[in-house]
């Protein structure tokens, strides 16, 4: 079996696993895994830039919230249908990613981190400033009529937990497929080349600025996809989703699961979500528990769980 086929089989198995999981999960976990899948899409989008291109953004919450507000505000103020608003949310994120990229990608390393962090702060303040449209920190509840929609002759109710689960799974599978194609192709190899040695890649004739811009735009679009779906599925948009915390979360998910792997962010999101959920039942210092776990992980698995698996057992893991 070729490495490509092995990878395809593994990732398909993961998607099928999630598909089957809904038949055995109790209701609370069905709801939780729905969120996990959406947040994993966000983490995979982030990881495309961080894990594969080597660019550490500290402002990805702005892309998540661009999708969230693009979709949410168009539904709330303009009465757009759910599918249209969803696509608009993704476009908002992609456009923002492209524009930010034009400026931020002139910097590297720590400067890139600071510039993206600064733009994320600006995005947060813009949301708060235009309170008459966004209700700022309080946020907005999506209208009741946006809780269902028709598409391709089928009716979808977003209040139904099974429908939501399968929609989230569809988005996870789609994102996984997109990232899989990207990182295994010519584009993905050029991203890794930039991560490993940008000067050499440039010397070989690649337009690294353009490739990074493309990576940032796709990464922002995937993050916005997650934000857009989150707003529409859970019927709420609020400025807290544009906070620094939501820029750090996908970084933690990627580090935990394994940056530069496709399944790493999915595993990281799943683990971190349940770690917080379970630890918070026992102590209000649950973030300390997650912090300790991360320290241990960095000490013993610096490449994350799937990074370690790839290094030691399955070198074919994309």
């Amino acid at each position: 079996m070729s490495n490509g086929l092995k990878s395809a089989v593994l990732h398909t198995a993961v998607v099928v696993g999630f598909l089957l999981l809904q038949y055995v999960l109790p209701e609370y976990h069905l709801l939780s895994v729905t969120r996990i899948m959406l947040l994993a899409v966000f983490a995979m989008g982030f990881n495309l830039l961080f894990g594969y291109t080597g660019l550490l953004s500290l402002g990805h919450a702005m892309f998540f919230s661009a999708g969230m507000y693009g979709a949410g505000l168009s539904v709330y103020h303009l009465g757009w249908s759910v599918p249209t608003a969803f696509i608009f949310g993704i476009l908002c994120g992609a456009l923002l990613g492209f524009l930010i990229g034009l400026i931020a990608l002139r910097t590297t390393g720590v400067a890139f981190m600071i510039v993206t962090l600064m733009f994320a702060k600006v995005t947060y303040l813009v949301i708060v400033y235009f309170t008459q449209y966004t209700r700022g920190d309080e946020g907005l509840v999506m209208p009741a009529e946006s809780r269902s929609f028709d598409l391709f002759g089928m009716h979808f109710s977003l209040t139904d937990s099974v429908t939501r689960y399968n929609l989230a799974l569809g988005l996870l599978a789609l994102t996984m497929f997109i990232v899989f194609l990207l990182v295994r192709g010519r584009f993905g190899r050029s991203l890794i080349a930039i991560r490993e040695n940008e000067s050499r890649t440039k010397m070989l004739g690649y337009n690294t600025f353009f490739i990074k811009l493309k990576a940032l735009t796709v990464s922002a679009a995937l993050s916005a996809l997650s934000g857009s779906a989150y707003a529409l599925m859970f019927a709420y948009i609020g400025s807290s989703f544009a906070n620094i915390q939501y820029s750090i979360d996908p970084l933690l998910y990627s580090l935990l699961g394994g940056a530069g792997t496709i399944l790493g962010p999915v595993f990281g999101t799943f683990t971190m979500f349940y770690l917080i959920d379970i630890a918070s039942e026992y102590t209000s210092a649950y973030l300390l528990v997650t912090g300790i776990v991360l320290v241990i992980l960095v000490l013993y698995f610096p490449r994350g769980v799937f990074g370690a698996i790839r290094q030691n057992f399955c070198r074919w893991l994309p």
Partner: protein, 436 residues
């Protein structure tokens, strides 16, 4: 019994029968002593009513959350001592929402699907309430909030969300405008945070003071990330008679200090909301400038000379002394102005459940309808803050507000108590028409 018989009754571990009986009795006694005192035997075997408390144990609302939890626990203890609800004990299940709407929603889902609570309750911060409410409606989980925001009465939420334990901010603001206009002045400058909470004050108070023949001279919006406020004070017009401030967040101590430096001894009358200084000792050196200024209080932090017997009992039950601090630790200042809502909301839940003859989750519709049949709450141990009118269409209560003056050493003395009618406003919202 002979010594021989006694020996025969000795078990393999060498403990005699008499000793075993003694140990059993001792064990039973210890077990009884260690069981919750509020768990009377009459309903020890019956299934408890589960109330999910979504509280801010961490995050920006943690100082409120700590006291909300204590208040809720004290109220549950009292309810159980009084026989529970419909003869069943009440169990409070607390989950931390991190003062975050995302986590808040997850907590509500956990309550509904894992803990299988009968009612969710307790939340304070507006964004957590607004973020969680859609899911409460979809999960058909009654959600009784203690937030004081106008979001419930605004009609943007759903039929499952109630705020019966505390007056909303719109009503608070308009009820105080007549007194401010008559006693402090008619020319007002407002300083407020430039986000939704501040904008509510800006909009509702501007209208309310205009209705009293007053005017707002200047609206000074301060960005939420501001850490120094000196550049805003020169914008206060010289002929300002009243400075109305509602600053919140960690910068509030700096705000007060810089305001003092700006005005010195010659200042206009100053009126503010205690929200920003809840859980803060007003005798803190940086806050000396506040002496002689006025604050809104929901429930007066300091026991007043006309303190009711109910307030005394409520303070004792929650563990708060006459100055609003913890009895156990005088440095631990309570969020006394707001936390009564946690206490009163639980007694309202009890009243509605008893009215509905609530037995199981199948009676949730009857519970909602019973909540909507409530009209008023009389002052008493269940409602120590005072009597209230409940508007079933708005799912919102209206009660008395207090205006207190800061005296020497940060002691707050109530100088005015509004009537309920002062805070009533017209609204077209009617949750009762929504489907269940």
């Amino acid at each position: 019994m002979s010594k021989k018989q006694d020996k025969n009754n000795t078990g393999c571990n060498g403990v005699s029968a008499a000793k075993r009986r003694t140990l059993k009795a001792l064990g039973a006694g210890l077990a009884a002593a260690s069981s919750p005192l509020w768990f009377p035997r009459a309903y020890a075997a019956s299934e408890p009513i589960k109330i999910g408390a979504q509280l801010h144990r961490t995050g920006i609302g943690a100082s409120y959350g700590r006291w909300y939890e204590r208040t809720a626990a004290a109220a549950v203890k009292l309810i159980n001592e009084q026989g529970g609800i419909n003869g069943r004990p009440v169990e409070l299940i607390v989950e931390d929402d991190g003062t975050d709407p995302k986590r808040g929603t997850e907590v509500l889902e956990k309550f509904a699907t894992q803990h299988k609570v009968d009612v969710a309750y307790g939340t304070l911060f507006s964004h957590v309430v607004i973020g969680s409410s859609p899911r409460a409606g979809e999960l058909k989980l009654p959600y009784v909030v203690c937030s004081e925001g106008h979001h419930v009465a605004s009609g943007q939420l759903n039929r499952y969300v109630f705020q019966p334990g505390i007056t909303d901010v719109r009503s608070q603001v308009i009820s105080m405008a007549p007194w401010i206009s008559s006693n402090l002045g008619k020319k007002v400058t407002m300083i407020f945070p430039d986000f939704a909470f501040g904008h509510d004050h800006r909009d509702y108070f501007s209208q309310a003071i205009a209705d009293q023949g007053g005017e707002v001279l200047e609206l000074i919006a301060v960005p939420p990330t501001e850490t120094s406020f000196t550049r805003y004070f020169p914008r206060i017009p010289r002929d300002t008679e009243v400075l109305y401030h509602v600053m919140v967040g960690p910068g509030v101590l700096t705000f007060v200090k810089e305001m003092g430096q700006h005005f010195g001894k010659k200042r206009p009358e100053i009126f503010g909301f205690i929200d920003s200084l809840e859980a803060v000792d007003l005798a803190t050196p940086q806050l000396e400038f506040l002496e002689g200024t006025y604050f809104w209080e929901g429930s007066p932090r300091y026991a007043q000379s006309n303190q009711t017997e109910f307030d005394k009992q409520y303070r004792a039950a929650v563990g708060v002394d006459d100055s609003g601090a913890s009895i156990a630790d005088p440095k631990d200042i309570s969020t006394y102005s707001h936390m009564f809502s946690c206490w009163e909301s639980l007694f309202i839940i009890k009243e509605a459940m008893e009215l509905a003859g609530y037995r199981s989750a199948a009676d949730k519709t009857a519970f909602i309808e019973a909540m909507e049949s409530l009209q008023k709450f009389d002052q008493g141990l269940a409602h120590p803050q005072g009597n209230k009118i409940f508007n079933p269409k708005l799912h919102q209560s209206f009660g008395h507000q207090h205006i207190s003056k800061v005296g020497s050493g940060g002691v707050l003395e109530v100088v005015h108590k509004t009537s309920i009618e002062d805070g009533i406003y017209d609204s077209d919202v009617d949750y009762t028409k929504m489907a269940l």
